[in-house]
Amino acid sequence: MKILVPFKRVPDPATTIRILPDGSGIATDNVKWVINPFDEIAIEEALRIKERLKTGEVVLMTIGQSNWQEQLRTGLAMGADRAKLIVTDKPLDTLTIARVIAKVVAEEQPRLVILGKQAIDDDSNQVGQMLAEILGWPQATFASKLEIEGDRCTVVREVDGGLETVAFPLPAVVTTDLRLNEPRYASLPGIMKARKKELKEIPIESLGLDLTPKLRVKELKAPPKRQAGRKVGSVQELVKLLHEEAKLI
């Protein structure tokens, strides 16, 4: 079974993020880039499906500048078979990203597209859903368990207050939650093999899509600094302060 795993490159969660003075984005010097952790879970799941079925192909894709190959190589080192880099230096909104992925789906014809439920940088949580809609495929978001039998897929979803099990026919789109699996390390032999695997760069213009963003980030701001608390002497004083100073009651 062919599985497509689209992923996003994000700053390492351990990195301290600094916002540019003009609020247009984050300072990228000294930022270590990694595969979005939810997408990494998707790669791991795709590899496990392939290992369980003992057949198939795991294809990775990402969208970005032509020197953004490093994270694709990491995925190949984990065990994916080949990779596609859709090259652009423009920022894209989520709908455009879903359309780009849909184009790759049309060419690759995978039976399953599996990706993270959201990227840890902007937390949009939209691409998987949009992609399923564009393709007209079933979707299962927030997967914490995934089973495939023949042409049917069963997914346990993490929803508010519990778990929901859904079953649907393939092809389909699945987005991964945190507890689906724990991604493996790329082994050293895997890293060496990854250099010989196919990594194709495709200019985004060749997909024939309208890339004009419908959504624009106007400004980024750091959350306000938390101020130290204050001890009050009595309930009366607290109520008074809440009323007169905080104007909450």
Binding site: E70, Y185, G190, I191
Partner: protein, 383 residues
């Protein structure tokens, strides 16, 4: 090997160390418990084949890359680098001096970590003075009968085989010409791992006393097939060991330095973070400079080894400087952390206890100094 691959490898190692090793290292160390799960992950990562040639299933990494791997592992927990060090020294001896049949038979299993090796050279009364070993190997038909005892043998309990140095000719003059190396695979007859030694640091990993009690070893396992070649085989391999120990010292020193420079920015004394006090800054500058210098000496020795040159001078200098730097830096880190540095709340006390191993292991620093001096006098001889 391309720089990009090296970077990927080191990044994976760093992730393993940050994610799996650092959070548990001190706990395992304080309990002196063998970190089986970490060793299993190291096996999955492929580390046991790091420097074994690719034709025998290894990764064929350069010693320069190997040194950086060891540094990274030791930054997390120095004991982990010991798990692969003597294993890879044994593999190096077989790959360099073994017969084609020995290479084919032994190396592929070592590369995957199924076969785990160690080096049994030191004896209770013979460390740096290798020539004075007393273990003997007598030919008996298709076997050699080995008897003697070995001391401080890393991986003896968890390993499956050992490269054992023994005298096939105890009366040889010079004495080193009588030494041979054997690949001794453990079986029900021995060798007997009699006890694990209690140590100041370097805990969690098995360092043992090993007894060879008239143990029959097939003559096919005499490394290289010719008796009397052992000393030379070992000396070349110990250069690898010295690079490893020097790289460990860099890793521990780096970890101590990182702890100190981090803490110095958090701890406030006399109204400002202590890193703004000059007394602390002087220490930080000295520590950072020493770590960097030690790292460059290690890389220098490793790149000579990669070029196929002898590097006993360079490896000796790297080992001497890096291990002394490591001891000083871990003590300075403790000074900067003050009372906390002395407690088990912070890992600095572990670095401080681990540091002396590198001054003693793989040839004491005093012996290193003699080797360095001998080489320098040779190089700068005026008549």
């Amino acid at each position: 090997m391309s720089e990009a691959v090296d970077q990927d490898i080191l990044q994976t190692l760093r992730r393993f160390v940050e994610h799996d090793v650092i959070p548990v290292a001190s706990d395992f160390e304080h309990r002196d418990e063998y970190p089986q799960a970490l060793v299993d992950t190291m096996k999955q990562l492929g580390l046991f084949g790091a420097t074994i040639p690719t034709e025998y299933g290894g990764l064929g990494l350069s010693f320069s890359t190997y040194a950086r791997i060891i540094e990274e592992l030791s930054r997390g927990w120095m004991s982990l680098s010991g798990v692969i060090n003597s294993h890879l020294i044994m593999a190096f001896i077989i790959a360099n001096a073994g017969t084609p049949e020995q290479k084919r038979r032994l190396l592929p299993g070592m590369a995957t970590g199924e076969k785990r090796g160690g080096l049994a050279l030191t004896e209770p009364h013979a460390g740096s003075d290798v020539q004075s070993i007393r273990t003997v190997a007598k030919r008996d038909g298709d076997n050699y009968i080995l008897s003697g005892s070995k001391m401080f043998i890393t991986n003896a309990r968890h390993g499956t085989m050992l490269a054992v140095a023994a005298k096939t000719d105890p009366n040889a003059k010079p004495a080193y010409a009588g030494i041979s190396m054997f690949a001794v695979e453990k079986n029900e007859h021995g060798p007997t791992v009699s006890r694990n030694l209690k140590k100041l640091g370097y805990k969690g990993i098995d360092t043992c006393e090993v007894v060879l009690d008239n143990l029959a070893v097939p003559a096919a396992n005499l490394i290289g097939g010719q008796p009397g070649a052992g000393f030379k085989q070992v000396m070349s391999a110990l250069e690898v060991g010295r690079i490893n120990v020097a790289a460990r010292a860099v890793g521990v020193a780096q970890a101590a330095f990182e702890s100190a420079i981090r803490y110095s920015q958090q701890r406030v004394a006399f109204g400002k973070p202590i890193c703004q006090h000059q007394a602390v800054q002087l220490m930080l500058a000295d520590m950072g400079t020493r770590v960097e210098a030690a790292r460059l000496l290690v890389q220098n020795a490793a790149s000579r080894k990669d070029a196929g040159q002898r590097c006993d001078l360079e490896a000796g200098m790297a080992k001497l400087f890096a291990s002394e730097a490591c001891a000083k830096i871990s003590l300075d880190a403790m000074r900067i952390l003050g009372g906390y540095g002395y407690t088990q709340e912070f890992p600095v006390e572990r670095f401080y206890r681990d540091a002396p191993l590198m001054m003693i292991g793989e040839g004491t620093n005093e012996i290193q100094s003699l080797v360095i001096a001998r080489n320098l006098l040779e190089r700068y001889r005026i008549n």
